[in-house]
């Protein structure tokens, strides 16, 4: 919700349309009105344009060619070899989409995203509700629970690999102590899936919790008082005050966390490298594999996967936004 600061801002909204129709004079006018705003956003626009826009355009172009390690421009010793890849139209897309591998990866990526986001959200909500009460040691608990967020991602993934280690990891040592056979945490397809989800939830809960805790604190206490007067029980208060009060913050964090989880490269790659076999491979790690691991390195294929991922996420964001709008949420 943008707030109009001044006369100019209020006018500007109306002026936009007028300015477009008036040509150069209008442009000058628009410049005079909006130069503050444009100056302030210029650095972002510039950096994003160059660093994201250009690679994106190039990625889309590559996905329409047959570029791979052998035919891109490269330098071997003193010789420079010109690029010799050709434009092939939509061939890559037909190839990828008709390949069952893509659909397998897509199904697992969706399962992974849905499970991770819903578990993270549920845990974050529960913990935020607990921390939103008044009791001794609250600050301490809060700090301990946010800690996973403060540790660089690959360090915590390493820490988990250390715990999960089949022969020497502490988890299996503890199970052994209890007389339970060692669990192949990262070596069995099903366990590996559970393990990557566990680690990702562990990494994601602090962000959820902090965001929801903030949301809880912005719900006016009077609402609870009024509900209590009307004889609402704890569950009813939660259902009819807390949840609606958290709506807008939830919508934002769920959207962001869905996008982040869908593309969560480091957790999968560092924990299992997509394995055992290809059981934990999600779309992003597969795209990475095409470009960096497979031989010959298939740049066009990788770009195709990348464009498909982006398209899926954009469709998701649009649908999500539209469904919010239908329910009267302005975003």
């Amino acid at each position: 919700m943008a707030v109009h600061t001044s006369r100019t801002a209020a006018q500007a909204a109306g002026d936009t349309n007028v300015a477009r129709g008036r040509g150069r004079g209008g442009l000058k006018h628009a410049l005079a009105t909006h130069w503050y705003a444009w100056t302030m956003v210029a650095p972002v626009a510039l950096v994003l344009g160059v660093i994201i826009g250009w690679p994106l355009v190039r990625g889309i172009y590559l996905s329409l060619t047959d570029a791979n390690e052998r035919n891109v421009a490269r330098t071997i010793g003193a010789n420079t070899i010109e690029a010799s890849y050709e434009f092939v139209g939509l061939d890559n897309y037909t190839a990828v989409l008709s390949d069952p591998v893509f659909w397998q990866r897509l199904v697992w990526t969706v399962v992974w995203t849905v499970v991770c986001v819903s578990v993270t959200f549920a845990l974050g909500l529960a913990l935020a509700n607990m921390l939103n009460r008044n009791f001794r040691g609250r600050g301490f608990y809060r700090m301990a629970l946010i800690l996973p967020w403060a540790v660089p991602g690959f360090v915590s993934v390493f820490a988990w690999r250390f715990l999960f280690n089949r022969d020497n990891g502490i988890l299996n040592k503890v199970l052994e102590g209890g007389g339970i056979a060692a669990v192949p945490w990262l070596d069995d397809p099903t366990w590996a899936k559970l393990s990557v989800i566990t680690v990702n939830v562990w990494l994601g809960v602090p962000f959820m919790m902090v965001a929801l805790l903030g949301g809880l604190q912005s719900i006016p206490g009077e609402l609870y008082e009024a509900a209590e007067m009307d004889g609402a029980g704890a569950w009813q208060r939660f259902r009819h005050i807390t949840l609606p009060g958290l709506r807008s913050v939830s919508m934002t964090v769920i959207l962001l966390s869905t996008i982040w989880t869908f593309n969560m490269f480091p957790v999968i790659f560092l924990l299992t490298r997509g394995g055992p076999g290809d059981s934990t491979e999600i779309l992003v790690t597969q795209a990475f594999r095409e470009a960096f691991v497979s031989s010959p390195r298939d740049f066009a294929g990788s770009a195709t996967w990348g464009v498909l991922i982006l398209a899926l996420l954009m469709i998701f964001a649009l649908v999500y936004r539209r469904s919010l709008r239908k329910q009267g949420e302005v975003w």
């Binding site: 943008a2 705003a37 608990y141 403060a150 903030g214 795209a287």
Partner: protein, 301 residues
């Protein structure tokens, strides 16, 4: 400064009141001992799960390397692993590189995110909608796929092996989210403050810099925390763009070390601790503001 305290304090007070009031009214003060025990037990359990993996790495790092896989919590504490690490790697060079890259990314990231957030929050201007969408869409980019084109681009711009190249890349990761959050935060600061600045003859930049920025400190703290963490722990770009011992960042450098000696748990855990410590320090400074800063940012974002 006076403005800042006078406005944030009531805000903090209401926040505290909001927390306390339902408790008092709902008779939470008389929470049964059983409920209290359950609450603490759950939170202790959750805290243990949150802290344990990190703590375990810390404990392992001060065991002698040969005992790294033992399950004792503490065994012959020693700093041997750290000594080994500092002596056999270019640790201090990497550390300096990291501080440079993460520091500059944080300062620039906070500044750029704040100006963008402010512009989007306060003005309606042509290009605002597309900009908001771009900020969201950039979050969707599979970074693994951008690496190759970005590498080529950086090569053409002559920025490979330069801290600048890495800083620009990190800014593109950190700034979109931060700008979103700052927009939400600025939305909660009353417009009257801007207007009073205007009346006193400040231009929009002056208003932003002298009046609004000091009020936005919780938001800035979160933004700084996020930018720093992003830049400090990033590995993929760092190891792709920077070549040679002298140019690597700490995360990039220790990562190569970590994969090189896969069975060598002792020094690896020490390396992890050394990377985590600066991040933890920043976290301790920022965590006071995290909830307040995210509240505004996320609710309105």
């Amino acid at each position: 400064m006076t403005v800042a305290t006078s406005v944030t304090e009531p805000a903090a007070a209401t926040e505290r009141a909001a927390v306390r009031k339902p408790g008092a009214v709902r008779g939470r003060g008389e929470r049964s001992p059983l409920a209290s025990v359950a609450l603490h037990a759950t939170l202790i359990g959750a805290s243990v799960i949150a802290v344990f993996p990190v703590l375990w790495v810390l404990l392992t790092s001060i065991k002698p390397a040969k005992d790294a896989i033992s399950t004792d919590f503490v065994k012959d504490p020693t700093l041997e692993n750290y000594r080994y690490l500092v002596e056999s790697t270019s640790f201090f060079t990497w550390f300096a590189n990291s501080v440079l890259v993460a520091g500059v990314t944080t300062v620039l990231g906070v500044f750029i995110a704040a100006t963008t957030g402010y512009a989007v929050s306060r003005f309606r201007f042509p290009g605002m909608k597309p900009l908001m969408w771009t900020l969201l869409v950039t979050q969707m980019f599979p970074m693994a796929i951008l690496i190759v084109p970005l590498y080529n681009l950086m090569g053409q711009l002559g920025l490979l092996n330069q801290p600048v190249g890495l800083i620009i890349t990190y800014l593109t990761i950190a700034v979109p989210f931060c700008a979103w959050m700052m927009k939400g935060f600025f939305d909660t600061i009353p417009v009257e403050i801007d207007e009073s600045g205007r009346v006193d003859g400040l231009n929009p930049f002056g208003t932003f810099w002298r009046l609004i920025l000091p009020l936005a400190r919780p938001g800035l703290a979160v933004t700084a925390f996020y930018s720093f963490i992003t830049a400090w722990g990033e590995v993929a770009y760092a190891s792709a763009f920077m070549v040679g011992d002298d140019n690597l960042t700490l995360a990039g450098g220790l990562q190569t070390f970590v994969t090189q000696y896969t069975a060598n748990w002792g020094p690896m855990t020490a390396a992890s601790v050394l990377i985590a410590i600066p991040a933890a320090i920043v976290f301790v400074f920022a965590q006071r503001h995290l909830v307040a800063g995210m509240t505004a940012g996320a609710t309105k974002g």
